[in-house]
Subunit: 340 residues, 2 copies
């Protein structure tokens, strides 16, 4: 199936309903999603009756090879504006993350508003996308098993590096984000950086691989002391209850509440300092999120993480994360136990 064309048609329909004649994308993953060409420098994709991508001279070879959309070499903004005006574009939608300096180049010639057509389209994954996320997850989980974390004597940064190496050897193109492999008190930082120090307890690893452009994301925490076990059990209860509750029709914030309430019952609400989860796909963070403020209705085809955590500053942190594919209910992708 030609999913690029399907996505494109869905977006064109929404544009027509809202009376936009053009929709400008610059994020590399948005352009890749719609055209199969991922820019390496800069590019402007204009979705319109005859979609086009203006790209850099240095990307012309790869763009012409990969893109399902017409490619033109970017010259300057004036010529691009002229092209678009000649085609009768008056109302121009832009992606919400377009940078201000680019917006400035177009605001005098078009009626501009930001629209999340592409984010909405990317929320619902096709079977091919879910297959890639699943493969990325399987590679990441297999690699963690092979890493044999319980029997390593190197420092955190070296072990983190070995994990990435295993993911590449197992067929991924690399890590889907900077691997978090931390231990001891720095594990109370949700985004800790691996250090040049020996492992302490607990050991927290938050890692993922990329496969055909798609990301995976998991977290495991290996606990040792009685208190670490106590916190682990609460986080596990939160993780399990939230995943069990997931089903199409609920709001995303309802899942956040379920995860948060478990942690609150034990008196640790203030120590759960981030959202319960985020979508992923070509990017490691996509919408919607399992967060307090996200009222998005859960739908089949979404892929969202569940990753409650408890962070005790100066002591340690515990987080457990799985990636959930939404079918009739939530299905965990991969099969790595929470207890390593």
């Amino acid at each position: 199936m030609d999913y690029e064309k399907l996505h494109l048609n869905n977006i064109l329909n929404k544009m027509e309903n809202d009376d936009y004649q053009g929709y400008m994308l610059t994020l590399f993953t948005n352009i890749e999603y719609i055209s199969n060409y991922k820019p390496t420098s800069f590019a402007f994709c204009i979705i319109k009756e005859n979609p086009i991508i203006y790209t850099s001279q240095m990307d012309m070879e790869i763009a012409l090879k990969n893109s399902t959309i017409e490619i033109k070499q970017f010259d300057n903004f004036d010529n691009m504006v002229d092209d678009l005006k000649k085609e009768g574009i008056k109302n121009l939608a832009i992606e919400p993350s377009l940078t201000y300096n680019i917006y400035e180049k177009f605001r005098d010639d078009f009626n501009i508003n930001s629209k999340d057509y592409i984010e909405k389209e990317r929320m619902i994954k096709t079977p091919a996308e879910i297959k890639n996320i699943t493969k990325a997850t399987e590679i990441a989980q297999l690699s963690l098993k092979q890493l044999d974390l319980l029997n390593r004597n190197e420092t955190e940064d070296v072990i983190a590096f070995e994990l990435v190496k295993l993911m590449i050897e197992n067929g991924s193109s690399g890590e889907s984000f900077d691997t978090i492999l931390t231990s001891g008190s720095p594990s109370s930082l949700p985004h800790a950086t691996p250090q040049a120090k020996q492992l302490e307890t607990p050991i927290l690893v938050d890692w993922g691989s990329k496969y055909k452009g798609y990301c995976s994301d998991n977290t495991r925490t290996i606990v040792y002391t009685e208190k670490e076990h106590e916190i682990f059990d609460i986080v596990k209860e939160s993780h399990d209850k939230a995943i069990k509750a997931i089903k199409p029709g609920l709001k995303c914030c309802e899942i956040d509440k379920i995860a948060r309430d478990v942690i609150g019952e034990y008196g640790y609400e203030k120590n759960f300092i981030h959202s319960t989860g985020h979508s992923l796909g070509l990017d490691i963070h996509e919408t919607p999120s399992f967060s307090l403020k996200d009222n998005t209705i859960i739908e089949k085809g979404m892929v969202i993480t569940v990753e409650p955590g408890i962070y005790l500053e100066g002591e340690f942190g515990v987080r457990l994360e799985d990636t959930i594919s939404i079918e009739n209910k939530g299905k965990i992708i991969g099969n790595l136990s929470l207890n390593l």
Copy 2:
């Protein structure tokens, strides 16, 4: 010396001259540059009489530990707007790369314009910054020597990975961008991805390490055939002439022209498909650039790459890159020969 304070004062002076009461930064490296705290999630830094950073709950621990600027936990945009209005901010400058969806949150309450105060400030590196870039370069170049590229039998992707591993073992925090280690015909793509294939000729490696947040950037090409040698010599001449010409007072575009003219003399102008160089620092791409359109005057303290290349589609590419510290003239950072 307290450079964060120096940078801050320079920017505050410019703001006062232009009658801005606040200047909003969201780019992680901009915030790190001004405060010594690098966000891991999202943050809003407002430079004003009493500068402040609004950050995420999950970053509070690390922000309070590292920042030289007051930290407040981000709650919501309405409260932030109220805070800023109460302080008498009417004219709000923003960084050019602020995203449109953030701009939208502030445009109704402030007179907003984008200003490149921070990019301008970051153009001129302090001795401490140049020391970090130099250290990053030395680590990267030492690692390439240790890699012994001429005697490797693995595939491109594995060799690229080993190079990154060496850089980490040699004291860097990792690669400063995705390592380009390519060979054979894909070397005609300036941003080629290492593949799971044996090395062919020529071998092109474009790599860099990070040290204390600062980037390095070099490219070497190892040539074998007569034609590869012929192209190499032209690129080398372009590289050498451009570097020799660098001095404060010239325009950046003049250096681009010198590099480009050499390649043009041999009839390959159409095969030099990118700018001659870019600045680097906390980011791998900063301003100014040695490019056709950049009229910035070269000043002491700038650090800019020179990286001419010739790309023959379907055949191969050659690029040679060094990073130049601008003193009374251009000084190459590092000492790795162009002939490996």
